[in-house]
Symmetry: C3
Subunit: 259 residues, 3 copies
């Protein structure tokens, strides 16, 4: 297994005692945007970890003092014109989400700072979401001018239709306490305790009988993964329509200071 | 476009600056019961608004100091005998709900006073539900003696099975604060601030890139509308059975003082 | 009708004034484990009650000072080897759950003490769940080493995916107040008031027009029962895999003091 235990391009993976694989998104910009290359890297890493018999549970972490994931890479997405590049991007996104939810081992998100758009969607594919009191969750697609098919599907499935409606149509920031009340987060800790709390959950889960956990996870996540694949095709149509309008690219360029 | 900007029989529609259409149910009894004719009127008005390129979002409002909607019209329904008139009534109901959820533009409910039965169900087809502290939500079908297929489906889908069970089997009144905690409402305001709060949400939504919002709403609401159409057929059977029993009509006549 | 009004092997049923059938699990160990024989007994009793025209609602109760139901019978399950006996056990479980959710009359769970595993799953098939402040809800399958397909499906459907994830992956105890906040319980009372509170709900429901309640319950519970039947087949595969691993039996024998 080459990637785990070694630094890869934009994240690193360490296998800890107790059967927990810690994946840290620490080799990138501190806000942790997810480019297409980076999504593919995480997909590949998860598949490798799934094959490693020493691992019983995975913890995803943005690194100390860093955001969990601040959405897609606007430098990349702001160049989209509504054609085939949209489909390729959605295919990468779908592969990542369905791999996170589809592998045999539970995955825990340890969220500090921002979890925005793609970052929040990665967390919504996880089995437990632990946040620090400094965590802020946002689904800002409409404000940016892009469609929100995956976000809509995932929020409705994980925390219910009503919370989904408010996150999509207001684009507001959900601070940690509100995210806990709305069950976007399962537990909230002090920032200094975040990683250890997530690892403690990970070690307990890694200690369960693997056959029990894996056969159950496959059933519990099966309909979710099927739904993601359905959204993939609808998402391509929605995003092509939205990017063809051209407003999203202008809004993104303003945000990253290119216009 | 004839209806918007002009008073219609039992409601009026004004197109406001900022791209918001304000539909006010103000030309009727202050409790705003929904007869079949009135449901058809609202369905037609929503389809007209959907075609108006000046509108980006719709706000539904019962009018100052008036209920959002106090259920079906008991004068009409208490004459039902469990035959074809039940099917025609369910067809009007289904057309209204699937139009509200199925048009391309988001719809906001501004709820003061009562939202009961059909009134609450109209709100459950909306994308945001803003209530005043004087709002009271009730799904009283069992107490009245009629079936609650739409209410059961909509509550389970929007706020979850557990809240649905309690609303259906207790027929209790949900005051605004409890409705907020159970996510039946997204926000609660003072009565004097209700309309402006809903309009503020409406203006923000009307300012989003239309292609992004519309392609997303179609996906997010698609399964909901499909479900409404499925419930339509089951609802006809349930309501025919319940109205054939005859108890509902007696209970309604007592409520409206006819018996 | 032979069983109602008479003591049966491990539970008794009394038809009370007001149309409520009170089923008390009082003729067994005070923690109320559910063996296969006992599950079949409850299934048969529910089918009998459903045919009794004097009954409009059922209340399930563990008996004064006793647990509602502390899971499967470990003496029985710890002898499983992952073969046909697993399928027979899952068939009994499925028959019980789909009967509780599938009969024409509403069922209320009055929960004191523990509702664990199968006990909690019985409650999740009910229409209202009333708990005492001494109630404790647990889905401990992973800690015991067995799969949790029914628990995963039922929790996700009744209280949402997020609460399901936390109950399954932490195996923690949910005390009454937390269970109320997460809508696992609809109401919490003092232990001395529990039974009367549940019976009061039962009498109110039994007073509704039967045709309205029954036609609605069939629709509201139909998809839930279909889901249970789907989980049945997946559950057999999951449980065979987990029991073949052999760890669950060892863990159970330790819990019941046989190893």
């Amino acid at each position: 297994m080459s990637a785990t235990g070694a630094a890869t391009a934009t994240m690193e993976c360490r296998i800890l005692t107790g059967g927990v694989a810690l994946v840290e998104f620490s080799q990138a910009h501190e806000q942790n945007p997810f480019s297409r290359a980076r999504m593919r890297e995480l997909t590949g890493l998860m598949l490798e970890i799934d094959r490693d018999p020493a691992v019983g549970c995975v913890v995803l972490y943005g690194g100390p003092g860093r955001s969990f994931g601040a959405g897609g890479d606007f430098h990349e997405v702001s160049e989209f014109s509504g054609g085939d590049e949209v489909d390729a991007w959605i295919d990468d996104i779908t592969a990542l989400y369905s791999t996170l939810a589809g592998i045999s081992k539970p995955v825990i998100a340890a969220i500090d700072g921002f979890a925005i758009g793609v970052g929040l969607q990665i967390a919504l594919c996880c089995d437990l979401r632990i946040g620090s009191i400094a965590a802020t969750l946002v689904m800002p697609e409409f404000r940016v001018g892009i469609a929100c098919n995956f976000g809509g599907y995932m929020l409705e499935t994980v925390v219910g239709r009503s919370v989904m409606q408010e996150m999509l149509y207001t684009c507001a920031e959900w601070p940690a306490e509100r995210a806990l009340a709305d069950r976007l987060l399962h537990e909230v800790t002090q920032p200094a305790d975040l990683l250890e709390c997530a690892l403690r959950h990970g070690r307990r889960i890694a200690g369960y009988t693997p056959a029990a956990v894996r056969s159950t996870r496959a059933r519990v996540n099966g309909p979710y993964v099927e739904g993601l694949r359905r959204v993939c095709e609808e998402g391509k149509r929605s995003h092509r329509a939205a990017f063809s309008a051209g407003e999203a690219q202008q809004r993104m360029r303003r945000i990253i200071g290119k216009a």
